[in-house]
Every structure is written in C-alpha cells, then in structure tokens.
Symmetry: C2
Subunit: 523 residues, 2 copies
C-alpha cells in the first residue's frame, strides 16, 4: 500500500508536472511523504476526454450494475484497512475513532446511494398516454424520465477527508446519477485521497466500466480547479469549502459559453435559539450540550453552532456562566491544517474587535491547536455590524443578547442563509417558536428542536443545504439521498415506438417503477 504521489487519470497513474505539495501532520507540523506534484491543464484535458468518452456508456448501465459499482467502491475502501485510517489521522489531526466512524459513514453513504439507484424514484417516470380522439387536437403519447447531466467535477472538503472528499457525498451522488466524476483532491489530505482514489479506480476496473468514469487530480485551485470547471465537457460541479472558493467557482461556471450548475456548500453560522421556558428550566444542561457541540472536532463542522440567540435575563446569565465555567476545561485541539488554524486565529481576533470575549478554552499545548472562544454581544450591535455574522471555522461562538422577542425576530430576519437553525424549547415556548418558524424556514435548510446541529444524518429526509451563502443553490441538498437529484435533468419522449424507448419508459414497465401515469401514481 505504498503511496505513489501520482494522479489517477482513468486507470493510469500519472505524475503531475507542476509545483508539488506534501501533506503536513498538523499535530507535529512535520511533512509527510510522498510529494504530490500538481497537474496541469493537459491533465485536466486528458481526464475530461476520458470522462466524456465514458459518459454515454456509463449512463446506460443498469440500475443494478450501477448499484453494484457503488457497493464495490465501499468494499474496496474497507479493504484498505488500517493504512487508510493511519494516513487520514496523520494528515488531518483528527482522532482515530472519528476517522473510523467517518469511514463507516462514507461506506454507508455509498451503500445508501446503491439502494437509491435500485429503487429508481430518481428517474421520476411520468407517462401521459395518447388520446387520439381528443378534440380539437389529439394528444401524443408522452413519457418523461431523468438522465444524468454529464461529467461532474468534485472538489473534496478539508474537514471530511473521507465522507466529503474523493468518494464522499458529492462523488457518490454523481456516480449514482450516472455521471462520470473527476475529483480535485484537497491539498490537505493527498495521501488519503490517493488511497481512496485507488479504491474507486479499482472498482471501475472490477466492474468492467469504462476507465473515464473516475479520475483523481492534484493541483492548484487556480490552475486545475478553474480548468476543470471551465472545460466544456464538465456539466456540473460539487464543492464543499469556503465562501470565497465557492463563489469563485460559481462565477467561473457562469462565465462559460455554456453555464453549468455549481453546488457549493460554503458558509453557515447555524443560529441556536434558546426559548425562555427551556432556558429557565435547564440553562446549565443547555450550556453543557452547547459546549460539547461547539468544541466537537475542534468546531470544524459546517454545522457548528456559531451563534446563540436568547432574551436577556437571569436564565441566559446562567447559560453563559455555565458555558464560561466549562470552556476552560476544554483542551485546545489540533486543527486540520496550519492554514485553517491561522484563519481561525484571524477570525477570533476579528470577532474580539467587535464583541466581548467571555470565556476561552484551555490554551494550546502543541502546534495548530485551536483554543475555544465564547463571545457575547447585544442584538442591536449584531444587527448593525456585518463582521459579527461572518463564519469563523472552528470552536468559536457568539451569544447575541436580545432585549425581547422583537429583537430575537430582528436578529433572525437579519441573518444570511444558513444550513441549520436550532430551537431549544419547552411546551410553554411553542407559541414563540411557532411565530419565529416562518422566518427560520426562509433562512435555513434544516430546523431542529432540542438537539445540536452537528451531526448530519444520511437519509431520505435530510437537507444539508440552504439559502446563499450556506450554499450556492438552495434547491438542493448535498447530504442524503435527494443529493442525487442535483445531477439529473428531465427528458420527454413523444410518440416513441416501444422498441426505441429506454427500459424505464417502456409500456410493460420492465423495471417495475412506480410511475405517474395519467396523473395517478402507481402503487
């Protein structure tokens, strides 16, 4: 299982010819072998040519074959064994159990998409039968199914080296939809990317698929990333990362002769509302839950609770006091990369200019360790100062103290789009929560009661998305089975002879799909 430092262009391991990077173990600030030379435009060209050549054959695979492919990827990742876990731990500074559970999530996600592909609801088959006798004009037979958009470029995330990287949610859902995938590996975990990339490429070969179904490139966002997004053969983009990165890719995609959709999951501060009765009844318990959620994984989650909103009073004071007592007991934690650590330091410093620091976690004892920070500000200050709404990626959070319900609502209306909004409430808070709910539904993709936003379930009902800047496209989710819908478009077939129709649309319904026939859903 020796790492080679090579890209995977189809089934070929190829060395880049641009500046090389090495992963850094953030816990020790030491470089990890081997070097990963960046790819160039020529490598993007090769990968896109292969992906395009593979597209028609890959999208024509049966639901069963495509599902088997996804399951084979999962099995091949598991077969990497401890080598994968060791490398991912070294590259990310994340704890071993976390990486192990993330591997489980990643493979479970691939198998979930395999089930989704087999079930076939994503085809959204609709049939309107011919009405030859209709007046004044007859109606032709009309049938609709969904087809994949084309090759998809996926940009791995720093904070989920497995679940949102080479074979993560974006890749799994695009492959499930029938789209070849070209991944640009995140520079923070190239070795993990190579290992997983080889597992995927092996699955392509194991399943006898055309090699262009999957490629893995290294290199700079400016060269390889932009070349990928602007290649005419790429038809959609999946990205998880910073707001500036997501916006840059979206603008590049929109400036193409043929603009394409970009699904960028970017920035969210995930407001948590503490309603009066709940706060009164259990301020201390809420503070405990909050600190645990805030500091989990060094706060390096898109859904970490970066904002707490509540009405002033003794209960809120108890919440802040308890959190402030707990925070110093929270060890500083190694962050994913030196870059993320310094961005966190800068974000905390910027917040400190505009809000009051009420507590900090234990000081760092090693390199790149983020120290938790809790800030407090008033509602009027929050609404007046856009700096207070910027995402700080890490274990920092801001409590916004409101004078009354009106200010809570103003703070809520003032927010940009969010991935999540959390409500802590008791029976007596329901009337307040109900009043705020319409605002929250406009602001966030997921609303949750009496829990914490960290932890995103992979299931049918999940929405990991939300209005800009949480994502670039609020109509979609990047986690859960509905993520497959991002990479599909409808095609209508009018008056086709049965023998020319794809199986999904044939009269005898050989794929046994639950179709919408003449306005009625089949059982």
């Amino acid at each position: 299982m020796t790492l080679t430092g090579k890209m995977l262009i189809g089934q070929h391991a190829i060395s880049g010819d641009r500046e090389a990077i090495q992963a850094i173990n953030p816990a020790t600030n030491t470089r990890l072998e081997p070097s990963y030379a960046g790819g160039s435009g020529a490598h993007v060209e090769q990968a896109c040519a292969l992906a395009w050549a593979a597209f028609d054959a890959y999208r024509d695979t049966s639901q069963a074959d495509r599902a088997t492919f996804l399951e084979t990827i999962a099995a091949n990742i598991e077969a990497l064994g401890d080598a994968l876990i060791d490398r991912a731990v070294a590259e990310t500074g994340l704890a071993r159990p976390r990486i192990q559970s993330e591997r489980g999530r990643t493979c479970g996600q691939l198998r979930t998409f395999a089930r989704t592909v087999r079930a076939g609801e994503w085809l959204d088959v609709r049939v309107d039968a011919a009405q030859p006798e209709r007046q004044p004009l007859p109606r032709a037979d009309l049938r609709q199914r969904h087809v994949p958009l084309g090759p998809v470029a996926v940009f791995g995330a720093s904070n989920f080296p497995l679940a949102f990287s080479v074979a993560g949610g974006d890749s799994a859902s695009a492959l499930a939809a029938g789209c070849p995938v070209i991944v640009k590996a995140h520079g923070a975990h190239p070795g993990t990317s190579e290992l997983v990339g080889r597992a995927v490429a092996k699955a392509v070969n194991d399943c006898g698929l055309p090699e262009g179904v999957f490629s893995l490139l290294y290199g700079s966002g400016r060269e390889v990333g932009i070349a990928l997004v602007t290649d005419a053969r790429i038809k959609a983009v999946g990205f998880t990362g910073s707001r500036s990165g997501g916006v840059a890719l979206t603008q590049a995609a929109q400036a193409r002769p043929e603009p394409i959709p970009v699904y960028a999951e970017m920035s969210s501060i995930n407001p948590v509302y503490l309603f009066p009765a709940a706060l009164q009844a259990r301020a201390e318990g809420l503070a405990q839950g909050f600190v645990a959620s805030l500091t989990q994984g060094a706060g390096q989650f898109c859904t970490h609770p970066g904002l707490v909103v509540a009405v002033a009073g003794s209960a809120l004071e108890r919440f802040i006091a308890t959190a402030s007592q707990l925070l110093p007991g929270c060890a500083a934690q190694t962050m994913l990369t030196p870059g993320i650590f310094s961005a966190y330091q800068a974000g905390v410093a910027a917040l400190a200019e505009h809000a009051q620091v009420v507590a900090t976690g234990a000081a760092a004892t090693g390199p790149n360790q983020g120290q938790a920070h809790l800030f407090v500000t008033q509602a009027n200050a929050f609404v007046a100062n856009e700096h207070l709404q910027a995402e700080v990626f890490g274990a920092a959070s801001l409590v916004v103290v409101c004078a009354n319900d009106d200010e809570v609502r103003q703070v809520c209306e003032h927010l940009e789009g969010q991935l999540t909004a959390t409500l802590h409430l008791d029976e007596n808070d329901l009337v307040h929560a109900k009043a705020l709910l319409p605002v929250l539904e406009r602001k966030a993709g997921r609303l949750l009661v009496n829990g914490w936003p960290t932890g995103v379930e992979v299931c049918d009902a999940m929405v990991h998305g939300g209005p800009f800047p949480a994502t670039s496209d609020s109509r979609s989710t990047s986690v859960g089975t509905a993520a497959i819908l991002r990479f599909l478009r409808p095609v209508c077939y009018q008056a086709f002879p049965d023998s020319l129709l794809p199986g999904a649309l044939q009269h005898a319904n050989p794929l046994r799909l639950r179709r919408l026939v003449n306005g009625h859903r089949e059982a």
Copy 2:
C-alpha cells in the same frame, strides 16, 4: 372594460412616470390606445414590498385554497369574454381562432396546476423515523417537505400573449408553488396584459388573499426589468424570450449579493432528422408536414423546425423539391411586432449569406409580413460556420445535407442545446435512430418521433426545456406540471414536536400525502 393604461401594484391601479408606449397593431402599423407609461424603480420597490409582505401568509394557504385561487383566475379570464380576444388579436396580429385556443390553453393550464397543488406530490414529503436505540448513535426523527422560494419576477413572452404572459405558465406554476408573482408585461401586448392582470388581481381579492400576491408592471427591461431581478426580495425569475435578454437577466441575477435562479427559455432551432427509410417511403408527405409546421403562426414558436438533417440522395431531393413547390403557396403572415419582423428580415439575410435559398413563400401584401424561407447547406459548411446555427425567429428553416450517417452524427454533436429534436423514421430506421439517440438525449429536452415539434402539451410528462442556450437551466421545464418544481426548495425538520410541524409532515398525515417513509413510498 375600458383600458386604463395603469399598472397594478397589489390592488392599486397606478400610472407610471417613465416613457410611455402604445401597442401597435402589426397588421396595420397603427397605434392602439391607451398609452402605457413605464414604471420606475420606485414602483418596483412598492411591488416588491407588497410581495414580500404577502409571502409568509400566501405560502401558508392550504392546498385547497391555493387551487381555488388558480381556478378563480381562470374563471376571471374567461369572464373577460370577447374584449380579451379582440384586444389580443389587435395587439399581436395572430388569428382569432389561435387566440381563442390560447385562452383555452391558458385557463386549462391554471386548472391543471390547481389539480397539481391539490395532489401535493410537489411537497415531496419524506419521513425517517427516530431510531432511539441505534448504535453507536441514535437517529432523530427527520421529516422533509418543500417550501416556496419567495416572490418571483415573471417576464411575459411576445409570442404567447396569454399562455406565456401575465397569467401564463411561469405565473401559474410560481403561484401554485406558493410564490407571490410580479409580472413585467411585454411591451408588445400591454392591453392584453392589463386585462389579464385585472382578472388576476380580482381573483386575489375574490379569494381574500393579501394584495401583494400579484402585481403587474410596465416599463423598460433596462430599468424595471433589472430593478426587479436585482431586488433582494425577489427569489427567482421566469423569462421567455431572446437569448440576449435571457443571458442579461441571468447575469444580473448572478451578480446579486444573494444570487438567485433564473429560468430563461431562450433559443432553439429544433433539429428534425429524416431517416433514410422514412424519407424514401414518404418524402412528399414529410415535406407537407414540415411546411405546415414551419409556417404555422408565421413560425413564431420556440419549437419551430429551424433545421432539417438528412443524408443526400434522391429521396432528400424529393423532400426539398416538394417543400419548394409548396412554399410559394404559403401566404406571408403578419408577425407579432415591427421589431420581430425586422429581426426576422435580418436573420433571413444573414442566413442567405452563408446558405443557399431554395424556396420562398408568397411575398408580403401588408406591413410586417414575414415571408417563409427555405435554405440548404452541406454538413461540412454547417459544422464550420456558427452563423448557420443561430435561431431565426420566424418561418425560416435550413436543410443540412449530409454525405452519410457519420456526418449526421457530426452535425448532431455540433449542435448547441435544444428544446426539441424530431426523428422521422420507419421500422428499418430504428437501428440508425437508436445509434443517434444518446447524442440527442444530451442535446434536447424533448425527443419526438414522426411528428412535428410545434405544439407543446401541458401535462405531467412534458419537458419544455433543454441544455443551454435552449434554457438557462436544463434541470427544469417551463411547460407541464413539473414546472412547479422550479420555485421550491427542501426544508428538513428534525425532532419537531407534532404540534410544531406543518400539516404536511404531521404524524397522522392529515393531508393524506403519499410520503416516502423509512425508504418506502406509501400507497
């Protein structure tokens, strides 16, 4: 039923304060009273403020109430009687029966969306029940439904003064989704727009809805149009018109601090493939059908057959000869506006520079009459010259003569995105058609066999959309019930008490929706 020349901002009839336009009867080149003064940014501001104020209440209406509203709009349009027909005929030069049937289509479309709203599949309800015992972590109860995006700006089309204008497909589907609508009337038919706008505004009042659910503005695209698309309260845009107009709106929407989706239906030349056996068997009949489709409504359809592709030979010569014999018998027809007429003249002149004119329709006998044109070119010339692929809006079409099947495929691969692609084929052509089908599926939103692309059915299976530049968003359709999906986004509710859940998601399923529960679709 006197026309007032006033805009409708909510329930208020308000005169614009910018340059006024008058409709022109294109058949006579005479101006029609009254004048319609354009609105300003201040009017956009008022309409957007009302729409935003109405949004939360309107989206909270029951499926039944929203359906009744759509049906009331239809009834109110019908109640306008001949006044609407007279005005629309005068403003467009379209034949009376065409306008009458378009009214039927428009009202039918509103009633179809009423049925769609009642059926509720658009809510896409998904339920994943709690698993409190799950290891290593319990799963919370997760429920998803779709909610409307927010107020929508609709830009009426010139060529469907009823079916794709004030109460046309975009407005109907946005209102069905729960979005308030602000229409910018097309300058070609302001009187028709006023009449229909009053019918919609009356329905808002009849149904006791907040007035901001609907507004109608006049004015320039540059001032009113851009102000609408860039207003922060507008959350999506529907547009049918030119490629340049659609691209300009899309760019304005993308440049906003919060980018929003634009559904622009723009440009398509709708290739028609004549396969060898069908062409051999019935070249003359195909030519008759082609000429009828080409000249229908002066060719002013997004789906008019602007390109014919076939392999050279005596059968294709018979097709061209028959079409050339028929065309001179086709009267020149009044086009929608003087501007559209002169654009058609310019388009025909541009085509004539690059391809051979083989036949023309009868010469004009009145103002603004478009004369049909048939051009011929060779495949290699077509592929080498992008001018030959530009849409000419009107009764002009280009036959591309191919040396063999390979050239047919090259022409097909060379095409930009299309709304439709048509295949004329017999049993013996199936193998050729099957080989071309994957290319066509990548290129077009609707594929049809042995028919003509003009005529777009409003039903569940319809796709009126396609890859750029046919539309700005190939993932959607602007005709048919799936058009409602353009204006919705998913929201997930985690661990909500039943009393806080919207009806669609409550445990007892009071709305009796067919939900996806724990991976299984309810019957």
